[in-house]
């Protein structure tokens, strides 16, 4: 049984988690439907940001710095993946 949240931080974290998960669902919809690869890359980038946000929420709730460990690598990975995808798309367009 999950204990009911007490205090403003716990309530805010709960609401924020619902928002982030809803946003993730919307992004998954865009990855699924996205007419072009660029749309999918943008949506995946945002999903990475939302995941970092969820890690931060957990760190706030548990007051635990260990939950923050994945945040920086995820941010780096999202950035590098987006740039690499962009370069790949551009090369493919020119070599068409």
């Amino acid at each position: 049984m999950i204990p009911a949240p007490t205090g403003p931080v716990a309530v805010a974290a709960l609401v924020a988690r619902a928002m982030l998960l809803a946003g993730m669902l919307l992004c998954v919809f865009r990855v699924w439907r996205g007419p072009r690869t660029a749309d999918r890359v943008v949506a995946l980038d945002t999903i990475a940001y939302l995941t970092i946000g969820l890690c931060g929420l957990r760190a706030i709730e548990a007051s635990d710095a260990a939950m923050l460990r994945p945040a920086l690598p995820l941010a780096l990975l999202a950035f590098l993946a987006t740039v690499a995808f962009a370069r790949y798309l551009e090369k493919r367009a020119v070599n068409r």
Partner: protein
């Protein structure tokens, strides 16, 4: 007191990220979707990370601030590269677009020259292939 500050920051950040996701689904073309995702998303995430740094102390707070700074620095770069790629791939712009400065400035011609060059190279490759096929066919008939 600190609790209310953290709660406000968390709610502001999460709602900005939700707005970014809604923009990704609702906006009409790739460039505008990118516009929603990169600004609202990056600022929302950095607000959340500021909330984390208020809650935690010491090196963990510094790490959270580092994540926030990193996201604020890299999101524009990533958005620029992906927008450039999307434009050159030939993503359809929204029919309500009123201005295309890159097209009007003439820089686009260089890209088209690059594409033309690639096209010529492909044609040459195809001719080579046909010549090779012809040679094979002749060898076969002999």
């Amino acid at each position: 007191m600190m609790g209310w500050v953290i709660a406000a920051l968390v709610l502001a950040g999460a709602s900005l990220m939700l707005v970014a996701s809604i923009g990704i689904v609702r906006l009409p073309d790739t460039i505008t979707r990118l516009h929603a995702a990169t600004k609202a998303g990056a600022v929302g995430l950095s607000l959340l990370m500021v909330a984390v740094s208020v809650e935690l102390s010491g090196s963990a707070a510094l790490e959270a601030l580092l994540v926030s700074a990193f996201v604020l620095l890299t999101a524009p770069v990533a958005a620029h590269t992906i927008a450039r790629a999307a434009y050159f791939v030939g993503v359809q712009l929204w029919e309500g677009t009123i201005r295309d400065d890159l097209w009007e400035s003439g820089d686009i011609e260089r890209t088209f020259q690059m594409e033309e060059h690639a096209f010529e190279e492909e044609e040459r490759r195809e001719q080579d292939r046909e010549r090779k096929l012809d040679a094979e066919r002749e060898a076969h008939t002999e």
